[in-house]
């Protein structure tokens, strides 16, 4: 395992200062890992990653990216520093075209490099290349998810965080999304993934962390968690019949 590329220390976050949802999380992701965050509904998974991205107020603790403190850095500066975030919903600009969504994403690059960057994204996501003038709101669920991921990858970030990218997608598209995440991770990008789809997430993860009530309840290798019936029952809502499938 290499050095931590993203870490939090005693992170407390939530929309109201006196009602924290994230209650002191010490957490780190090493370069090249694909870490999946699991846990029951209301465990604070989404709030935790939104706090890392800068969308939820932080009331205590610190976070660092590549060793640099980014606790109170604004969201757009975090993007420039190499932290990309794909929210679960409303993750594309629906009233703008596919191309305009990507043009926004590459606006930080020098003008001469933008066309090349967009071309590279279109090569990586041919479904989007076929629909540059389509309004993002008119794309299918899977295409919208690809556009959201393409937008996040536009600046070649070392770290990408995705909040339930499989939510609301058909099983066929879900498997495509997980294949895409595997490929992104294989290309050297560190991935932090929040998922409800436990089986599929554990199948591609290099490490899994379970949150409960705003704190880390358990962490370990995917195969360890998958084979631990107590963990599955208490935290993941998985019944015994899942174990065979996960093994």
């Amino acid at each position: 395992m290499t050095d931590a590329i993203l870490s939090t220390h005693g992170l407390v976050a939530g929309y109201e200062p006196d009602l924290p949802i994230v209650r002191g999380i010490d957490f780190s992701v090493s370069s090249g890992e694909l870490v999946v965050l699991l846990g029951p509904n209301g465990a604070g998974k989404s709030t935790f990653v939104k706090a890392i991205a800068g969308l939820v107020p932080i009331h205590a603790g610190t976070m660092a990216l590549n060793g640099r403190d980014i606790t109170h850095v604004t969201p757009h500066r975090k993007v420039a520093e190499g932290l990309a975030f794909v929210p679960q919903t409303e993750n594309v600009f629906a009233t703008m075209t596919t191309l305009e969504n990507l043009q926004i994403a590459v606006a930080h690059l020098p003008k001469a490099k933008r066309a090349v960057a967009i071309e590279a994204l279109f090569t990586r996501f041919p479904d989007l290349a076929a629909r540059p003038s389509r309004l993002a709101g008119a794309l299918s669920g899977g295409q919208r998810q690809m556009l959201a991921v393409a937008r996040a990858l536009a600046l070649d970030p070392p770290v990408i965080i995705l909040d339930e990218p499989s939510a609301g997608l058909s099983p066929k598209i879900v498997s495509e999304v997980f294949e895409m995440l595997k490929a992104i991770n294989a290309s050297g990008v560190t991935v932090l993934l929040v998922e409800q789809n436990v089986k599929a997430a554990l199948a591609i993860a290099s490490r899994a962390v379970i949150l409960a009530e705003g704190r880390i309840a358990h962490e370990g290798l995917p195969e360890e968690l998958a084979s631990d019936p107590l963990v599955g029952k208490i935290y993941l809502g998985t019944a015994h019949h899942h174990q065979g499938a996960l093994a």
């Binding site: 969308l55 604004t74 757009h76 929210p87 600009f93 606006a107």
Partner: protein
Amino acid sequence: MNPQFIMDGLITGAIIGLGAVGVTLTYSILRFSNFAHGELLSWGAYLALAVAGALGYLSAGLTKPIAPFSFGWALPISAVIAIGLTGLLALAVDALLFSSFRRRGSAIIIMVMASFGASLALRSLLEFLFSSRPAYFTKALQIAMKLGGGLRATPDQLLMLGVALVAVIAVHLLMTRTDIGRAMRAVSENPALASIAGIDVRRVIRTVWFLGAALACVAGIMSGLLIQIRPYLGHDLLLPLFAAAILGGIGSVPGAMLAGLIIGLCEALAVQAVGAEWRAAVSFVILIAVLLVRPRGLFGKAS
């Protein structure tokens, strides 16, 4: 019916349209009705008047009319300076008032009430500085030219129509073809997503204030040149401005301009058809009708 109402309506409509573009931009991005927007028209006109006066004092040659218009070089030069100053005024009001409410996450109604307060303060300050007597950029009289079809217009009026058209096309191109325009549309649609897409939302908000104020200044100067300059110049246009922004569809630049022209034409038609005392009611009727029949306006996007 005298067809001249068409020209009168287009001129009034161009002033309303330019002001409405500023209203629609600030509303769609800042998400509150800024009732102080009308004062930016008045301040724009008075700032141009003050700068033109100073330029005329420094060089009398600058006030000599540029044929065929009624004004000298002092006015276009002062207009450029006034646009910058009005933009800075809007940024100052935002920094002193609205930004602190934004930081606290205040409710929209608090922002609206604050804009009422800002409106009162800005208008009173204008009256204090310049008095409430009407003022003029020029006292030169112009003869209206025959345009055919029973229409007449002065060279100043035709120039101002051209300026309004160029300004709206420029803003439309800015919104659709540039980074800052795309960023403004992105913030308008989803500020949180815009921030994690790498957009500096605070910079966009500053740009919107400046741009809206710049357009208000141009509209104020147009109104001052073609009618007169009064501290209530912008305040009296507030209802037509909001009616045009809503009729055009919040966030739509061409929509606001087109709606401004529609309202201007309806007002001019009402003056001929039912009398000048009904002019102000036209905007009100249009506003209510749009809200009842098509709340998203002509070019607004369905929510």
